[in-house]
Symmetry: C2
DNA sequence: AAAAGGGTAAACAGATTTGTTTACCTTACG
DNA sequence: CGTAAGGTAAACAAATCTGTTTACCCTTTT
């Protein structure tokens, strides 16, 4: 017999089903408001199985936040990999995608990491950490892009872009309407203001 | 003497105690996670009294959101009333206050209206409405200020400022660190980019 | 002094939550 | 074929939540 410590498969189908169902429900209805029973029913999984993969609800929340980030990362990878676009064009594209997908979309529920902080700040360090890691990763994406630009301080510009993206998310979440401003122009202006050329 | 209008439930001391206690608890711990029993204990009020003023928890949440807005409005009124400051200086001051109070303050829990949307979007129209009204009011404040500026499109600029302020709140909520960028410069750049002069 | 508000304390109902366990089933595989 | 892993269904414990009611107490006013 293998005397390994019983390793829960990290890539089990069931585990993924649970995370996907939980992601949808947490996004639409919030974390506290979503009961474990509902998740388990939507995932077509028994409670016993859920208990094996996620001993506590908060463990599942952390996993969902990581899944959320991995999803975002994957959806960006194609864009970032393209070599027919300049870094500036990639940045603009990120914002235009966001504007198109978030504003005037009643199915948009804001950044999951921010929502999670609203419910768990000061209560669960693991969840706080997952949220921080998500935003840190977003910042890193911008940092990779801005360091290719002829600007005075790429780090500062990356943070400014992060703030801008965050603001779009928050506003779109509350005010559901077509995005009334020219995001492309705003981003380009922001970059131009720091250009050394 | 004081024969002012008297003891209207809207202005009751007890009512205010409840709202203030609830505001603190909702901000720190979230809405669902905060039980009515705890609110009532912190407000030094019996459950029967709470039930008189707020037949349901969601009624209290709406009242708290209105209180949150009224508070913000009052804290801005001094600044907005000053006539030794230009509109541009007032706008910059709003952002510098926000940067100082939000970043690197572990007691900052983000915009209550955004947090509320995260928990109640699609569930309670009254709460959704209160959140929307809060952001609309914030936008109006900026609109009043930008229409004094020599810019092409004051309405657009106001919305951009709103997005920027929102972004600062969201980022500060998750990444608790000293604000690493020069907010004053960023706001001025944003305004300058739309100046006609 | 008596009546009437306004408030308190506490018990209670009914539903729902997370977390735990037991007993059974299905299916892949040596 | 037969075993063992992995999953299901369902009952259950214990706590908690909102919402409701009853009985009482204090203070003000008349």
């Amino acid at each position: 017999m293998s005397n390994e410590i019983e390793a829960v498969p990290k890539e089990s189908i069931k585990r993924l089903q649970i995370i996907q169902a939980a992601f949808k429900l947490f996004s639409e209805n919030g974390f506290y408001a979503t009961g474990v029973d509902l998740i388990m029913r939507q995932a077509h999984v028994s409670k016993r199985t859920m208990y094996v993969y996620f001993p506590a609800k908060n463990d599942l929340i952390v996993a969902v936040l990581k899944f959320y980030r991995a999803n975002y990362e994957r959806s960006l990878s194609d864009l970032l990999a393209r070599n027919d676009l300049s870094s500036r064009e990639k940045i603009v594209a990120i914002f235009e995608d966001a504007a198109r997908n978030w504003f005037a979309n009643s199915q948009f529920h804001g950044c999951l990491a921010v929502n999670a902080m609203g419910e768990f700040a000061g209560k669960d360090p693991n969840i706080e950490n997952a949220c921080l890691e998500f935003k840190t990763w977003e910042l890193d994406v911008f940092r990779e892009l801005t360091k290719e630009l002829p600007v005075m301080n790429p780090q500062d510009l990356a943070f400014k872009l992060l703030v801008l993206l965050e603001g779009m998310g928050g506003i779109a979440q509350v005010m559901k309407q077509p995005c009334p401003i020219d995001i492309k122009q705003m981003v380009n202006d922001l970059i131009d203001c720091q250009c050394v050329v």
